[in-house]
């Protein structure tokens, strides 16, 4: 599969259809893995902070999980545009912030366990609402992030915004 120039990857962690991303691990394995590791540690700690600030009972809506997931989707949308369009030469930026920080900050497994706990508590309607809110919120947020960042970078390029 060949990509058009300026097209965004499908997988934000690593998309091997992009030659530079395919090469990054063999080229600089330790720098890439260390950046991901550092970002992952910081992202997981940030999520733990949100969890601690917004605790929820097992039979209640996990607002903290929804919040980190939607925020993370917004930020990954912005980041992917910046990585491709603005800073293509900063090769460790995506591993550090995208794969590491945002990957560690957001969580699929906790969101599934939150849904599992709601189901076990007999709250099927709330389970659907929770899963739907994560999906709809995450998709809308990622779209918003990509759209806003794309507009901002185009404005900058067309010279209407002076830096």
């Amino acid at each position: 599969m060949q990509r058009e120039d300026g097209e965004l990857p499908v997988d934000s962690d690593v998309d091997v259809h992009f030659p530079r991303q395919r090469r990054e691990l063999p080229d600089e394995p330790w720098a890439v893995l260390a950046a991901i590791s550092l970002g992952g540690a910081l992202g997981a700690c940030a999520r733990y902070g949100v969890d601690t600030a917004l605790p929820h009972a097992p039979d209640a809506f996990a607002l903290s999980t929804l919040l980190v997931n939607v925020t993370g989707c917004l930020l990954i949308g912005v980041l992917m545009v910046l990585v491709v369009d603005v800073w293509p030469r900063l090769v460790l930026l995506r591993p550090l912030l995208g794969v590491g920080f945002l990957g560690g900050f957001t969580t699929f497994s906790t969101h599934i366990m939150d849904a599992h706990d709601l189901l076990e508590a007999g709250r099927a309607g709330l389970t659907l609402a929770f899963l739907g809110a994560n999906l709809a919120g995450g998709l809308a947020a990622a779209w918003l992030g990509v759209t806003l960042a794309t507009r901002a970078t185009r404005l900058r390029r067309s010279g209407r915004v002076r830096r």
């Binding site: 599969m1 965004l8 990857p9 499908v10 997988d11 934000s12 962690d13 690593v14 998309d15 091997v16 691990l25 890439v32 893995l33 991901i36 590791s37 550092l38 970002g39 992952g40 540690a41 910081l42 992202g43 997981a44 700690c45 999520r47 733990y48 969890d51 980190v68 997931n69 993370g72 989707c73 930020l75 990954i76 949308g77 992917m80 591993p95 995208g98 794969v99 590491g100 945002l102 990957g103 560690g104 900050f105 957001t106 969580t107 699929f108 497994s109 906790t110 599934i112 366990m113 849904a115 599992h116 189901l119 899963l131 994560n134 999906l135 995450g138 998709l139 947020a141 990622a142 990509v146």
Partner: protein
């Protein structure tokens, strides 16, 4: 102490997701994000398993909050599903969302049942 455990878990989980994703993608030339799907479903399976064990707080922080939290990702899942929609591959986008949530829940129940049976 708890925060340190979360950090250590995250520091291991995130690069493991990257390596898993890359490993899977190189072996399956497909637009469907099998790599992320594999990491997410695996994390749900193990999370279901450990949720049944009465882990002490530090171990739960290390394994569940840190490691499994970072092995799985919602930002990549959300972004991928958006990109599949933007490419007008409607079926793949729908299949990715449905299969990820469905497989995740199924895996969590299997993991929990397995731990309970031990």
């Amino acid at each position: 102490m708890i925060l340190l455990m979360v950090a250590v878990g995250g520091a291991i989980g995130a690069p493991l997701r990257y390596l898993t994703d890359r490993f899977v993608q190189i072996r399956h030339d497909s637009v469907f994000p099998w790599g992320t799907h594999t990491a997410n479903a695996t994390a749900c399976l193990i999370f279901g398993f450990v949720s049944v064990l009465a882990l002490p707080d530090w171990a739960y922080a290390l394994v569940a909050t840190g490691f499994l939290g970072a092995l799985s990702t919602y930002s990549t899942f959300g972004y991928e599903t958006l990109r599949l929609l933007e490419k007008k591959t409607w079926f793949l986008a729908f299949a990715n969302a449905a299969a990820s949530v469905g497989a995740g829940l199924g895996a969590a129940y299997i993991g929990a049942a397995f731990a309970a049976a031990l």
